[in-house]
Amino acid sequence: MQRIGVFVCHCGTNIAATVDVKAVAEALSHEQGVVISQDYQYMCSESGQDLIKNAVKEHKLTGVVVCSCSPRMHENTFRKAAASAGLNPYLVEIANIREQCSWIHKDIASATDKAIILGKAAVAKVNLNTPLTAGESPVVKRALVIGGGIAGIQTALDIAEAGFDVDIVEKEPTIGGKMAQIDKTFPTLDCAACILTPKMVEAAQNEHITIHSFSEVSAVKGFVGNFTVTIKKKARFVDETKCTGCGLCTEKCPMKKVPNEFNMGLDNRTAVYIPFAQAVPKVATIDPNYCLMLKNGKCGVCSKVCSVGAIDYKQTDKFIEQKYGAIVVATGFNPIKLDKYDEFAYSYCPDVVTSLELERLMNAAGPNGGTLLRPSDKTHPHTIVFVQCVGSRCDDSKGKQYCSKICCMYTAKHAMLIREKYPDTEVYVFYIDVRTPGKNFDEFYRRAVEQYNVHYIKGMVGKVSPKADGKIDVQASDLLSNEQLHINADMVVLATAIEPDKSARPLATMLTTQMDTNDFFTEAHPKLRPVESATAGIFLSGACQGPKDIPETVAQASAAAAKAIGLLCKNSITCNPCVAHSNELMCNGCSACEKVCPYGAITYQDKEFRMPDRTTAIRRVASVNPAVCQGCGACTVACPSGAMDLNGFSNSQIMAEVDAICK
């Protein structure tokens, strides 16, 4: 006979406010098999868990029902508590009477009735629970980092540091990501390249790290500890092993009219190119859309000049398959498209640039070799206007609802650098609020205002209209002095909102991870598990999880690496015991389940059976590999005779819950 303990949590007033917990406990005490039913203020607290432990020991309980918050929050806590008292952890059931009852109903009577019904359903389910032990599955001691920006590099280095092999997959010809394009970094103003390139070189030289540049992930199969990933190495028409990065081919290439993405299209590059001097791997890449040889078969200059014969026009995409134990997503961010913001005249005035373009204009390796000139007529700009929150904090379909977090700091940095290098240039910054939280951030911003007297004007820019004489009229409102300003500017810099990289959405589908409506990866728990995704074995590093600056990105990169190392250092991981199992006597061997199993966990064998009519017969029956099965349950419905059932969510358990609810 079952001996079940019911514990109803007050959760302070979260539940007790709209659910009469005493009545729930009293009502559930009459349920079948319930021997003890009590309520307590905080079940998840230390004393709450002790309540469970003592009750299990004292009443020799065979099942525990906790009516509290969502199982997604404290199911493990209560399971561990029961386990430490000697009860199999999978004999504990949670009734969600907070998120799905007390918080969403105002009327106490109906909320209490609903809580009682949800409690009854949990008791009905626990009556049919069977003790389960988690199986083991091996862990492949290798990690995959998708994305080669600072986040990916930092994570890879930390994992390699722990002695595990790491593969970095970067879709650009070189690792480095957005940070490589940045000139100086806040708040210390040290040059981005100076702190990034050593890390890139370290990553290249580390024997545990292999870099797959100009490659993409094309397919992911398997599950935590045992992912099988297919990497597509895009054809770069240059043999990586031979090319020494001398750059001779890039000088001789006749096709010089290719817009240079690295400089945001502000200048041109040749068809065969090396993105920037410190590129890692320092290997040339041929752009098939522009190379005359590849497009119409005439030219071949680069293969002639190449001393080591590294050019190979016949190269095709190669696919490699590799097994990994953990995957870290570091796909980074991109500025949003500004074509919908015609009030800032970005699309038809060359002197209206985004902040990233300004980074390139000011960078020594940039289009004008470091001197800041107006892109239109290459003259020295005397007045520059910065516009904050372009596309951020917008509640309309054009922009993003969230604040992009890094624009206030990098605009202060730009303003300070310009004022320092060109004291004669006036700098205006139109802001809604300046948000500079963090160590030395506000002091940095105040220095920009006080020492370099950058004009910070509270008010938004309404209209930017280029005038005939090349100047730009910026019409903005100054809320503090309550007037409308017209500034005659030479350049306008827009602090553009940032969004996740376009490759993130298909990748999420492959990895079966969740994404929010803005395409940022959803973390397992916003406060308690920020660097893991809800899918076990997949970790999030850097801006793919949300807008963040370099210090935070590096912090999160190392955190993701720590989590990945925590997984890889185990020889085997306990896997989900709620897996399917087949009742061989009832199995027809019709392989309907095998066809619907997404993980291929079901195999067939011929076994001898004593048939009901006392003859023995060889029958083809299914058997589920508990290590591979993830417990989705598709097979249990495909199986007509109900031979296939799922531990923890069996047919009879769910039917018992349905009965309890419809009682």
């Binding site: 009459h30 349920e31 079948q32 009901p612 009519d613 006392r614 009965d659 419809c662 009682k663």
Partner: protein
């Protein structure tokens, strides 16, 4: 003998149904007959017999035996039996009428089945003589004269009017209650119709089916006959023959959890099912051969052994036409006959 003209039959039905509920045989749109509660305007069925036999009136396919009220841990038993109201069944054929006597032997002998008894006492069976038997009929093989059926009141038709003859005490009372609508009539034309029917009976293909090589004493011989393998190989074990058969009387008792209590009900069970008489160790007859043999041995050997020679089959022919693979009792009898 008392009679009523054919065209006034419906008004007779109206009179009867005014006093107590009346069920008559009606042809449905699919061309087969069934028993239906009489509403004025219904016409009596022309076809020979119904698909579902009349046993349903006394031994319904599903019947609630008791209810249990469950409140948390205490259970309360509620007796759901209530007195059945009087009813009349019109149009029962001779074979079905004989099946009631067989069922009475089972249900009314000690310990008496109160549910069955309650309905049986409140019923009045009006049988109709057969004039156009089908080729599948073989009731004569079991000592029945279809032209003079049993039941409480026998009704004979000579084409224009219907003659009523009481056969039991209850029938006498019934005829008395409707005697004002009947008048006396000579039975000359009727005897001629009966004579014609009788010699058709003789010409039936299964007329000379004999039952003398069956009965209680030949149990071991038939049980060990090696013909069962061949006979039972095509049987699908579906249970149609048992559910259309008027004399099958096996039932299963089950509990149904309605959410706020338990309903204990009994329902027809078929010896052909794989879970018939399933016990702790499993089913004692676990091959289709044993189940097939059990069905026909019960009809032809076990029942006569326990009921001094009365066979369990009434030769209505339903299992002949309704079996999906056309295996039936006639083929079994012909296969197991002692060939002198």
């Amino acid at each position: 003998m008392l009679k009523i003209s054919a065209d006034k039959l419906n008004s007779l039905f109206d009179a009867i149904s005014a006093k107590q509920t009346l069920y008559i045989t009606v042809d449905n749109e699919k061309g087969s007959a069934e028993y239906k509660k009489y509403e004025s305007g219904m016409t009596l069925s022309k076809s020979l017999n119904t698909v579902r036999s009349a046993k349903d009136f006394f031994f319904p396919q599903t019947e609630n035996l008791a209810d249990f009220k469950v409140e948390g841990k205490n259970i309360e038993v509620i007796d759901v039996r209530e007195e059945s109201e009087d009813f009349v069944v019109f149009g029962v054929r001779a074979c079905d009428a004989r099946s009631f006597t067989i069922l009475d032997k089972v249900f009314l002998s000690e310990p008496v089945d109160s549910y069955y008894k309650n309905r049986r006492e409140h019923s009045t069976i009006i049988t109709m003589a057969c004039t156009k038997p089908a080729e599948t009929c073989f009731c004569t093989a079991f000592g029945m004269d279809p032209t003079v059926p049993e039941g409480d009141v026998a009704v004979f038709s000579d084409g224009e009017n219907y003659f009523f003859l009481e056969r039991t005490e209850k029938g006498k009372k019934f005829i008395a209650s409707i005697s004002d609508m009947l008048e006396d009539g000579d039975t000359a034309k009727l005897n001629e119709v009966q004579e014609k029917a009788r010699n058709i009976m003789k010409k039936l293909p299964l007329a000379n089916l004999s039952t003398k090589s069956f009965g209680g004493e030949r149990l071991m011989k038939h049980f060990n006959s090696e013909k069962w393998a061949e006979l039972s190989e095509s049987c699908l074990g579906c249970g149609t023959c048992t559910f259309v058969c008027p004399t099958c009387q096996c039932y299963d008792i089950r509990d149904f959890n309605t959410g706020h209590g338990i309903k204990r009900f009994r329902c027809w069970d078929s010896c052909m099912y794989s879970d018939f008489t399933k016990m702790a160790h499993g089913n004692s007859r676990n091959s289709q051969l044993e189940r097939f043999r059990q069905r026909f041995m019960h009809k032809l050997v076990y029942f006569p052994a326990n009921n001094n020679g009365e066979f369990g089959c009434v030769g209505c022919g339903r299992c002949l036409s309704k079996c999906p693979v056309s295996m039936n009792i006639v083929k079994v009898m012909k296969a197991l006959e002692d060939k002198e």
